[in-house]
């Protein structure tokens, strides 16, 4: 029997760091003020691992992202914590070009094992840089894997998979979920990249989502449970994406709503809609419906709480596909 206890999302990520740094000397991490712990997932790691493995850097995102690439090429397994994922945009060339495209372009010879970490998410009233979710932009660039957990269990398992992965991975976590609690085994386990998870079974409509929006979808499913049976699929990883799991669900429900906290235009939900159109058209009894962030910059003030997906918007989309 496995031992499990309640951990917060950040504690679960931290546990993955500890396990993997104990297991593998080559793993180290860099970031701005990670030793003190700008966020709790890197707090108090220096007593065990030292300041040479938990490295505080100047504010120099392009340099640390590029340094991770270099260190990985020389056999280390770096983790770079950007703090907010929005700060990683300073390192656009390193993330989108150098890290993502290195392996393929250089003859698929040398694996590039590194993990970028960033927090993101709408709804905290802090506007664009401290909210923006980069997964749509990331998956546009082949060569980097991208994941985001919705539970502490998934957080630990996905982070372990990311650290062991032989490719660049961008691990995103939702800032509003920092203190979300859930059971986490003490055992070693991974949540493989590219494996979706059915977070709630249902027969009428499939809601595909990830991260914080899994919880919006679950709340909506609970609210409508006497009327509509909703299956909630947590993508967990955007690239690779588990299309088989989605299609298996659609065989049953024949209706799809995608809830995506990122911008609607040309993002994850647009990509999946196109894939369903091309490869799963016959499975559908209604057009796909999306609930996303509108196509304007993420506002702050009192606005982001209602400009992002809400239970009301998800409910309305579900009712639309059921008509």
């Amino acid at each position: 029997m496995t031992d499990t206890r309640e951990l917060t999302l950040c504690e679960a990520i931290r546990e993955a760091y500890i396990d993997e740094m104990r297991r593998d000397e080559r793993v180290f991490m860099m970031g701005v003020s990670i030793q003190a712990g700008s966020f709790p997932h890197t707090k108090d790691l220096t007593p065990e691992f030292g300041t040479h493995r938990v490295v505080d850097t100047p504010l120099a995102e392009p340099a640390i992202a590029g340094a991770a690439i270099g260190a990985a090429q020389e056999g280390l397994r770096p983790i770079v914590d950007f703090m907010y994922a929005g700060f990683s945009y300073y390192a656009g060339s390193e993330v989108f070009m150098q890290a993502s495209q290195y392996y393929f372009l250089h003859g698929s010879q040398l694996p590039l094992p590194l993990v970028f970490v960033g927090t993101c998410g709408v709804g905290r009233r802090v506007a664009n840089e401290h909210s923006t979710l980069p997964y749509g932009a990331l998956i546009h660039h082949p060569g980097i894997k991208v994941c985001m957990p919705s539970t502490p269990y998934d957080a630990k398992g996905l982070m372990k998979a990311a650290i062991r992965e032989n490719n660049p991975v961008f691990f995103l976590w939702h800032t509003s979920m920092m203190s979300f609690k859930g059971h986490v085994p003490t055992d070693d386990y991974v949540v493989p990249l590219g494996k979706a998870d059915v977070k709630r079974e249902g027969t009428d409509v499939t809601v595909l989502t990830a991260g914080m929006q899994v919880h919006t979808a679950l709340k909506t499913a609970e609210k409508l449970k006497d009327e509509i049976s909703i299956e909630v699929i947590d993508a967990r990883s955007f690239e690779p994406f588990d299309r088989d799991a989605l299609f298996k669900s659609l065989e049953k429900t024949t209706r799809l709503v995608i809830v995506d906290e990122d911008f609607e235009r040309a993002g994850f939900s647009a990509e999946i809609s196109a894939q369903v159109m091309e490869h799963g058209y016959d499975l559908l009894d209604a057009p796909v419906k999306r609930v996303c962030h509108p196509n304007f910059p993420i506002p702050g003030g009192y606005m982001d709480v209602y400009t992002m997906p809400t239970v009301e918007k998800v409910e309305s989309a579900i009712r639309d596909v059921c008509r």
Binding site: V32, S33, Q35, A36, G37, S38, D44, T46, P47, T51, D56, T57, P58, L59, A60, E61, P62, A63, Y84, G86, F87, Y89, Y90, R125, V126, A127, N128, E129, H130, P294, N295, F296, P297, P299, G300, G301, Y302, M303, Y306, T307
Partner: protein, 346 residues
């Protein structure tokens, strides 16, 4: 005083280049800046602010000095600490609109949609970025535009020591020097960035040494000494306005509290020394230092100090009340969709 700036000033004659009126203006600007800082802290602690606030504390003299002597058409990029309130009020900007922005109100300077960003384009203050260091490329553009338009505008580019980690800081130094742009690199160095101390940020204690590599003149000043900062600002503005190209000013200041409200107060893994910070507040408070100077020079009395202080607090409270009186900005998604692109160009 041992600063280069004051040494430079005293070379021109014993007296400070500051007039009595300027000293009093600076002093009252600092008083108001610190009153605003306290008011903002009350507002965020009461849960009435949206977004963040990063307390200024005893670090506001450089900002006041940087802003006070700018003309309306001069370009200012305020340091984000205390959210640039000191810099902007010193430049004569109606900062209550920015207070209202922090509270998500319709009266806010960005229509309540930005949390902590500001924009006063008519005052040549264009914005703030959540990404630290975003100022550097833009100030190159401001300087370029000033030269292109053949104006004598000065660009006051204020930011912290942390921002000089970014490559874009170094790129901006390079291009400003190369093109002789009218940019003041106004560094407010508190020896810290977030939860890291200077030993983890920069090899050496003085960041202004960077300037020499690009042939940019540099001056250092005690950031707790309002009048020394102001003399340096005057000299820096005169230098850039006369077409001599960029200049680098390093104000050494102090962070006597945590990075932001409710945050840790560490240097790396180690908690910072509370006693030392309390001592700074007691002995290195720029308002107390400046007040002592003014009293010594017969420009201020204890009674007037108390009167002015009360006035500053009243002014700060009035900005809070103004903001509270404005409705929370909650436009519809449809309305926001109309706001993404500007209208027709020409």
């Amino acid at each position: 005083m041992q600063t280069t700036a004051v040494a430079a000033a005293s070379k021109r004659g014993k007296a400070s280049p500051l007039t009595d009126e300027q000293k009093i203006l600076l002093f009252r600007n600092l008083m108001l800046a610190m009153a605003l800082d306290r008011m903002m802290m009350r507002v965020i602690r009461a849960g009435r602010m949206v977004g963040f606030y990063h307390e200024g504390g005893i670090a506001l003299a450089p900002g006041v000095a940087a802003g006070t002597f700018l003309r309306k058409e001069d370009i200012l990029w305020p340091h984000y600490r205390a959210h640039g309130l000191a810099h902007m009020l010193a430049k004569g900007i109606d900062v209550k609109l920015y207070v209202a922005e922090h509270m998500g109100r319709e009266a806010g300077c960005c229509k309540g949609r930005s949390s902590f960003h500001f924009s006063f384009p008519q005052d040549h203050v264009f914005g703030l970025s959540g990404n630290i260091g975003a100022n550097f490329p833009m100030v190159v553009g401001y300087g370029f535009a000033a030269k292109y338009k053949k104006t004598d505008q000065v660009v006051m580019n204020c930011s912290g020591d942390g921002s000089y980690g970014e490559g874009r800081a170094h790129e901006a130094l390079l291009i400003s020097a190369l093109w002789k742009l009218p940019v003041v690199f106004w560094l407010e160095n508190n020896g810290m960035a977030q939860h890291s101390g200077e030993q983890d940020l920069f090899p050496g204690k003085e960041i202004s040494v960077l300037a020499a590599g690009y042939g940019i003149p540099a001056m250092k000043v005690d950031g707790q000494d309002l009048f020394a900062c102001a003399e340096t600002a005057l000299a820096a503005i005169a230098h850039t306005r006369s077409g001599k190209g960029p200049i680098f000013i390093e104000c050494r200041t102090l962070r006597a509290q945590e990075h932001s409200v409710g945050n840790l107060n560490n240097e790396g893994p180690v908690k910072r020394d509370q006693k030392l910070m309390d001592e700074w507040k007691a002995t290195r408070d720029p308002l107390k230092i400046a007040a002592a100077r003014l009293i010594e020079e017969g420009l201020l009395t204890e009674t007037v100090f108390t009167e002015w202080q009360a006035e500053a607090d009243k002014q700060a409270d009035a900005m809070d009340e103004f903001s509270e009186a404005s409705p929370k900005a909650m436009p519809s998604v449809e309305e926001l969709y109309t706001q993404v692109y500007a209208g027709k160009g020409n």
